[in-house]
């Protein structure tokens, strides 16, 4: 007689009949509908109600948790600032090959003046400057300096057009000529199809001007004189147009245009390039243009490359970051390494403590657990600062060592503002996160296992190592995951006691968020950190198995 036989299911007499695949009429409910449908209907109502109950929570989680992460992921690649601020320039650069030696053509220079004038009006040029400065240092000053002179570009043509006919100074005339039929101020300015066809640059430049006026001050463009670059555009368009097309112009400004077209050939003119170079000669540098071109797409891998100490060269190739900016890989390595060390320290310290507490009588155990949790009752800052007091060169520990004579007064140990300080302080702070899961797992290991092992002849050590320890591994796993993930993203303590050698990648992230305002890079670093954690979690699952994690 074995249990296998006893446990085997006794075949029921009708089991065979039921298993036979007999085609049967579908079962129907009392009202004649198919039973399956009725069941689904009744279940759906339940599900809907259940969903209704959790919906607010779901929404909350979505808004507060998923949304920020999605936003971070988006920010880490988002790069619309270039194409938004310099729409005409990026369009003009499409055909230009950044890897060559040549500067872009005049159209790009002219377009830059239209875009920059509008950007300056909206104070957007410095922002763009600092964005591009992440990629090529020095660009931001070109933008800043250009801010002062850009609306003078084309003044020479302004004067000549006005001398030809003062109507070119009339702001209402401009709006009527370029604007689409029926446009009036509060609506966003739109050029007419005719203007876009015959005078493409003028239409673009005037639209940039008009929109800037509307957005910036809510001014009616029809009441404002266009800025000089618009006249540059007009000069370029009229020089390029032929007489037949110009005479075909209907609507406001027909004769003025014809007159101007006839006169523009005799205008005194200066190459566009020189006009822009007068504003800032950085614009004659190939790299500046190449950077704009490389970063003109709306999405860029640039932040991620920077995060791993690479960059896109102005020509668009992936190259190593400049030496003095190479910091992130080192920081990632250090963060991972120190988190591992901290994790190891918390295991070493936490395991015996948890073991001790779990083998205590209930009353003492509760008291000790409160002591373990006690640090949570004091502010993190206070705890960290306490370590400063203890570890600094004039601190308690050094004083004691000097007093005992173990350390000479002039050779006091540096234990703070370096990796050692960070590890000590963080181990202390994260210890409860190791002890608690360990304790709750150990609490569930019945003492009879160790007793059984001993009764079978195992020494204390063998009983512990072969029987007790393997059963506490899930607790170690849970503690490790908690401590490691917490420490990999820890910020305050490394900031306070880490000095320069003990800071983490999160300190860099914080720096980019609050000081350098390079949110894209902060987002990319954060994303990488997230990916690293997920990969490690996956590895852990492969090696140890996530089922082997237990919080009790």
């Amino acid at each position: 007689m074995t249990d296998a036989a006893a446990d085997a299911p006794i075949p029921k007499p009708d089991a065979g009949d039921r298993a036979r695949p007999e085609r049967q009429e579908p079962l129907v409910a009392a009202d004649g509908r198919p039973l399956k449908k009725s069941l689904q209907r009744s279940l759906r109502r339940q599900k809907l109600r259940a969903f209704g109950l959790v919906a607010p929570l779901l929404l909350f989680v979505l808004v507060t948790f998923i949304a920020p992460i999605a936003d971070m992921l988006f920010r880490s690649v988002e790069n619309q600032i270039v194409s938004e601020t310099l729409p005409n320039t990026t369009a003009a650069l499409v055909g230009w090959d950044a890897s060559g030696e040549d500067l872009p053509d005049d159209a790009a220079f002219a377009a830059l003046s239209y875009d920059l004038a509008a950007a300056v009006e909206q104070r957007a040029h410095t922002r763009l400057g600092s964005r591009l400065n992440y990629e090529t240092t020095g660009i931001s000053s070109a933008f800043r300096r250009s801010g002062r002179g850009i609306d003078d570009v084309g003044e020479i043509y302004l004067d000549q057009f006005v001398a030809l006919d003062p109507v070119w100074e009339d702001s209402g005339f401009w709006a009527r000529m370029i604007g689409a039929e029926g446009w009036a101020h509060p609506a966003p300015f739109a050029p007419s199809a005719q203007a876009q066809g015959l005078l493409p640059e003028t239409a673009a430049a005037y639209t940039a001007f008009a929109r800037a006026m509307q957005i910036r001050n809510d001014d009616d463009p029809a009441a404002e004189e266009p800025w000089a670059p618009v006249y540059l555009a007009l000069q370029r368009d009229l020089s390029a147009a032929d007489a037949g097309d110009v005479s075909a112009w209907t609507g406001p400004g027909a004769e003025q245009l014809e007159a101007a077209h006839a006169a523009v050939g005799g205008f005194e003119s200066v190459p566009v390039r020189d006009l822009i170079a007068d504003v800032d000669d950085a614009w004659l540098e190939h790299d500046v243009w190449a950077t704009i071109k490389t970063f003109s797409p709306p999405y860029t891998p640039g932040y991620f490359l920077t995060s791993v100490d690479l960059k896109l060269s102005p020509e668009g190739a992936i190259v190593a970051q400049d030496d003095y900016q190479r910091i992130h890989v080192l920081l990632f390595q250090r963060t991972l390494f120190m988190s591992l060390v901290i994790m190891g320290c918390t295991i070493l310290l936490g395991y015996p403590i948890a073991y001790l507490i779990s083998n205590m009588p209930m009353r003492t155990a509760n008291l000790l657990l409160i002591l373990v949790l006690l640090p949570f009752w004091t502010s993190l800052l206070v705890r960290t600062s306490a370590w400063k007091v203890l570890l600094q060169q004039q601190g308690v520990i050094n004083d004691t060592l000097v007093w005992i004579g173990l350390v000479a007064d002039d050779a006091r140990l540096t234990m703070i503002n370096n990796q050692f300080g960070t590890i000590v302080a963080m181990t202390h702070i994260l210890l409860p996160f190791m002890i608690l899961p360990l304790y709750s797992v150990m609490k569930t290991i019945p003492p009879s296992y160790v007793r059984a092992a001993k009764s079978l002849g195992a020494t204390n050590w063998t009983a512990f190592w072969r029987v007790y320890f393997p059963q506490s591994v899930p607790g170690i796993g849970a503690g490790c995951i908690l401590v490691f993930i917490l420490s990999i993203g820890y910020y305050i303590t490394p900031e306070l006691v880490g000095g320069t050698t003990g800071t983490f990648i999160s300190n860099r992230i914080a720096f980019h968020i609050s000081s350098s305002l390079n949110w894209g890079l902060a987002a990319a670093l954060g994303t990488i950190l997230l990916v690293v954690v997920l990969v490690l979690y996956w590895l852990y699952d492969r090696i140890v198995g996530i089922d082997n994690v237990s919080l009790g």
Binding site: T2, S448, A452, K454, L456, G457, T462, V467, Q471
Partner: protein, 368 residues
């Protein structure tokens, strides 16, 4: 060292005036004296909290005796750590190591004894065969049913061939049928291998069916140590009488003791003859104990020297093989009798007044 006829040591395990206190205020085990012979199956039986586990733990070495000696095979073991005592143990929850397979569980005691691989495997195989579980070696304990785990626990306690095996309520978690089967298997194995077993239970049927001798515990003391039949038929005090089997109690006062007969005046004035057990002088209060199956109401079966008494039927339950009748006898409304369902047996009606009788030998005057 004392040897009996079969050349077995009769004092293989000795508790010598053992006392145990956990808190220094109350004695959990009070003055325990117990000799266990080699190859004997001894059961400790008693209500919850009576100190059975404590005794077992002291023997296994997980608790130390507060006072007194425990000797194993003549050697005092108070100072020997548990892993050197070589005592097999089966725990109530089996304590199979959950992270090891059945084979690894069984190999564990052999590994720690540094037994070579081949021998180890052979022994594990033999142990598995012994409990008829040879097909389950690669399973984890969690993949076994309760009864299967039980057998593995048993095999593990036996695999390193200890001379003494302790079992603490090993069948407590099993259902009735499986329990009975395992009771049988454990006794079979124990006798087959010839080991000494100290078995703890609070199930009296288990104790009676399995053991050579039973020690009834109460309040940290052995109330009676005897073979199962003696325990049942000749309880030495009212605790044992109540605890083992079903029992009817009538209270009264001893009027006189005359050799093997004591005359007791029951509280309602009826006078009956009893066997005195632990009453010694007239005037003493006593509880008279009578087993339900020793009471007869069928006049034809009643022996001539039986003592008869009137009783009123309060309840009659048909149980198939037996009839169970609750009566009011001498003011006691819980007087139960059991009669065999025989063709000539009359079924009683509630409210009927009948005459019942028993032999003075079956009626024991115990302490009050």
């Amino acid at each position: 060292m004392a040897l009996d006829a079969g050349n077995r040591k009769t004092d293989f395990v000795v508790f010598d005036r053992v006392q145990k206190s956990y808190d220094g205020e109350t004695l959990v085990v009070k003055d325990l004296n117990l000799d266990i012979a080699q190859g004997e199956f001894l059961t400790m039986l008693g209500p919850s909290g009576s100190g059975k586990t404590t005794c077992l733990m002291m023997l296994a070495g997980f608790e130390t005796a507060t006072h007194g000696d425990i000797r194993l095979d003549g050697k005092p073991i108070n100072n020997i750590p548990p892993h050197k005592r070589g005592i097999g143990m089966v725990f109530q929850n089996y304590a199979l190591f959950p992270h090891m397979t059945v084979q690894e569980n069984l190999a564990f005691p052999l590994e720690v004894r540094k037994i070579g691989k081949d021998e180890r495997e052979a022994k594990v195989r033999r142990a598995l065969e012994m409990v008829q579980m040879q097909d389950f070696g690669v399973r984890r304990p969690a993949q076994l049913s309760g009864g299967q785990q039980q057998r593995i626990a048993l095999a593990r306690a036996l695999v390193f061939e200890p001379e003494l095996v302790l079992m603490d309520e090993p069948l407590g978690a099993l259902d009735k049928q499986l329990r009975e089967r395992m009771q049988f298997e454990i006794t079979r194995l124990a006798h087959q291998i010839g080991i000494t077993v100290v078995y703890v239970t609070h199930d009296q049927t288990e104790a009676l069916t399995m053991s050579d001798r039973v020690a009834v515990f109460n309040d940290g003391k052995i109330q009676q140590l005897a073979e199962p039949d003696v325990l049942y038929e000749k309880p030495e005090n009212s605790f044992v009488a109540q605890f083992i089997g079903e029992n009817n109690t009538l209270t009264g006062t001893v009027q006189e003791i005359n050799g093997t007969v004591a005359t007791v005046r029951l509280d309602d004035g009826e006078i009956i003859d009893c066997t005195p057990v632990n009453v010694s002088r007239p005037g003493e209060r006593t509880q008279v104990s009578i087993r339900p199956e020793r009471v007869e109401y069928n006049r034809d079966r009643l022996s001539p020297d039986a003592h008869t008494i009137h009783a009123e039927v309060l309840e009659f339950i048909y149980m198939g093989d037996i009839f169970r009748t609750r009566l009011r006898v001498a003011g006691n409304e819980d007087f139960v009798i059991k009669t065999r369902n025989a063709p000539d047996q009359r079924r009683l009606q509630r409210g009927e007044t009948i005459e019942i009788g028993w032999l003075p030998e079956d009626c024991r005057a115990l302490d009050a």
